[in-house]
């Protein structure tokens, strides 16, 4: 029992469960899942589907944060990648061709990677502070995206592209499988190889790890490039959801939500140790919180305040002080036994 109570993921999970319980009490239909045609339908399914872009971005953010960095440019990269993909498909004579769509997605994600690599170059090679290095692209990126779409909102009709965010496989949204695949891939690469440990080493003490023979420059560079790839793919999912490249709204403020998700999941902003499972829970917590606003019918004027208060409560629940309090309570029986022993 004690082991369960003091597990580092206990509190993030508790926060998520509490949110789901509150929603279910407010409206029991929250947990209902019905079958519509060949697909499952319900609030929880919507959360799985809509959380996919944030999931991808947060995974990238987590890797960057664990190297003691931060990536503010993810929203702008999303806007660029969506703009690139839709402009290519819009200009092609065969928008419904699978090859066209895959090509467009490939190029868009590649550009996401290049933008991430540019961030990585500034941070790892040039030595610019991560917050400044990525701020450059955060501000300039949307301008680039607007340039690509010519200042318009590009809209397309393309069945394969629509499938990315709106399609269903064995009853579940395809976007959900994309986020599962991303989680699995990141967990596999970071946890089944030494890369995760090396990344954490760089985050905990870059100088010491360099002296120990870790190639910190390449690892940091790679972290930003990975974040760029994931943000690029998130941009595809986002634009596929509305079949429109909206350069101003795509991924707006997502960098802040991603940082929040990573921190809620228990990864420290000081770098070092990171937890993939924690980030996944953090993402679902934020997405559930967003639907809570709808489900409780919070008026739009106070919705931001509601979100802020909820986040403060969740962060408070997870604070180390409160955590040690819980630990002490869990160990409550122990001092007595030791006294007896004395």
């Amino acid at each position: 029992m004690k082991k369960i109570l003091t597990h580092r993921l206990m509190l993030p999970i508790a926060a998520l469960v509490a949110l789901i319980v509150i929603n279910t009490i407010a409206r029991p239909s929250f947990v209902s899942v019905t079958v519509k045609g060949d697909q499952l339908y319900g609030p929880l399914i919507d959360i799985l589907r809509n959380s996919a872009p944030l999931m991808l971005v947060s995974l990238g953010m987590m890797i960057v944060i664990s190297t003691r960095g931060i990536d503010l440019s993810v929203g702008a990269i999303m806007a660029v990648s969506g703009a690139v993909a839709l402009t290519i498909i819009d200009g092609s004579p065969t928008p419904n061709d699978l090859g066209t769509v895959l090509g467009a997605i490939g190029i868009a994600v590649l550009i996401g990677m290049l933008l991430g690599a540019w961030n990585g170059f500034l941070v790892a090679v040039v030595g610019v502070q991560p917050i400044i290095a990525t701020l450059v692209l955060m501000l300039a990126g949307r301008g680039v995206a607007l340039l690509i779409t010519g200042g318009f909102i590009t809209t397309i009709n393309s069945a394969p592209y629509k499938f990315m965010a709106q399609g269903y496989v064995i009853g579940l949204p395809f976007a959900f499988f994309v986020s599962v695949a991303a989680v699995a891939l990141v967990a596999l690469i970071e946890r089944r190889t030494a890369l995760g440990v090396l990344t954490e080493a760089v985050g905990i003490n870059p100088e010491a790890s360099r002296l120990a023979g870790v190639r910190s420059r390449g690892i940091i560079w790679g972290a930003y490039a990975a974040s760029g790839v994931l943000a690029g793919f998130a941009g595809i999912l986002y634009s596929s959801n509305t079949m429109a490249a909206d350069s101003n709204a795509a991924g707006l403020y997502i960098e802040l939500y991603a940082i929040l998700a990573v921190v809620l999941g228990g990864t420290s902003l000081m770098g070092g140790k990171f937890t993939v499972a924690g980030t996944v829970i953090g993402v679902f917590t934020i997405e559930t919180l967003r639907s809570t606003i709808l489900f409780l019918g919070v008026p739009s004027a106070v919705a931001p305040l509601f979100l802020a208060v909820a986040v403060v409560i969740v962060v408070l629940i997870q604070s180390p002080r409160l955590r040690s309090l819980v630990t002490r309570t869990a160990q409550g029986a122990r001092p007595n036994t030791s006294e007896v022993a004395r």
Binding site: V128, F152, T242, A249, S291, S300
Partner: protein
């Protein structure tokens, strides 16, 4: 060495950022080799947040073109108030003949408008308005958002009385959202339309879609009327309604405001039920006002452009010949 590299990288980045902002203005600045008779006009646009805004920008660029005797200096402020004020200041420093502003927010314009006045440059406001005293600008041309909401509401009362309504509001605090909501509720007074819920979708497709999904999960097929403060949110909601297995136009009637191309297409296809136009083609009116003000003629302080409404049949007729 490291420092030099850092500054090189930063300069590169800044250059990149500047190309991003300046491209739209380039056409005005670079092409200005023509005759001396041209009237130089600085136009501070809000940004390019929606289809409506793009059409509005196009309209002004066409009306203020060199063929019509103007030299246009264009700036889009990316929806940042301080950037827009800076643009207006730079127009004053460049000594343009007249300034056109589509103000992002209502407040904070007094100082810079006074500077323009002191420099003897007349200011014409388009679209949105400002709270500053009206002797600081020459004229305002725009639309009556409250009337738009009212027209939409009147149609709803006549054609869908007794419905269960959900509303997708525009960006919280914007004058378009506030006034459209006021006009709508004014028209609904005394009717039996029941408002189930109302939430902001931030004027975007994605926002409209996500909020509508929430509404559908919450109320299911009880909803039979949707009022969206703009077309884009309505189009997003359309996806959500279809995904929920309902038929837009039949199960849920959709009323929106704007009449951009995609919205009109949805109306002609029978997916939307009614659109109140928010006319973005203000260019000619603005060009006209600029000429009159510079010629010393007296002009009205406020010009309201009349808005049309469209039913499904009217949309089918109008669609092929619409300029935007």
């Amino acid at each position: 060495m490291k420092k030099i590299l850092a500054s090189v990288a930063l300069v590169g980045a800044v250059a990149l950022a500047m190309t991003g902002c300046a491209t739209d203005g380039g056409s005005g600045g670079g092409g200005g080799g023509g005759g001396d008779e041209l009237i130089t006009v600085g136009f501070a646009q809000t940004g390019s947040e929606s289809g409506w805004r793009s059409a509005n920008t196009e309209s002004l660029k066409t009306a203020l073109s060199e063929e019509n005797g103007f030299k246009l200096v264009f700036n889009a402020a990316d929806n940042k108030q301080e950037a827009q004020i800076a643009a207006v200041r730079s127009f004053i420093n460049q000594g343009v003949d007249a300034i056109v502003i589509a103000p992002i927010t209502v407040d904070g314009w007094d100082d810079v408008l006074k500077e323009a006045k002191d420099a003897g440059i007349p200011v014409i406001l388009e679209d949105r308005t400002v709270s500053a005293s009206d002797d600081l600008y020459a004229s305002w041309v725009g639309l009556d958002f409250e009337k738009e909401g009212e027209l939409a509401g009147q149609w709803a009362v006549e054609n869908a009385d007794g419905s269960n309504l959900v509303v997708l509001e525009g960006t919280t605090g914007s004058s378009a959202a506030l006034d459209r909501a006021t006009g709508w509720s004014k028209a609904l007074e005394g009717s039996t339309i029941k408002t189930l819920d109302s939430q902001t979708g931030d004027f975007t497709r994605d926002g409209g879609k996500k909020v509508m999904e929430g509404f559908l999960q919450k109320y299911g097929s009880d909803i039979n009327l949707l009022f969206a403060h703009n077309d884009d949110m309505g189009l997003g909601a359309l996806d959500a309604i279809e995904a929920a297995g309902l038929v837009p136009g039949q199960d849920i009637k959709i009323v929106t405001i704007d009449a951009v191309h995609d919205g009109m297409q949805a109306l002609a296809d029978g997916k939307f039920s009614f659109i109140v136009e928010c006319n973005p083609l203000l260019g000619e009116k603005v060009a006209d006002l600029v000429k009159k003000v510079l010629a010393g003629e007296s002009v009205d302080k406020r010009t309201i452009v009349e808005d049309q409404t469209f039913t499904q049949d009217q949309a089918k007729e109008a669609l092929p010949t619409r300029p935007y």
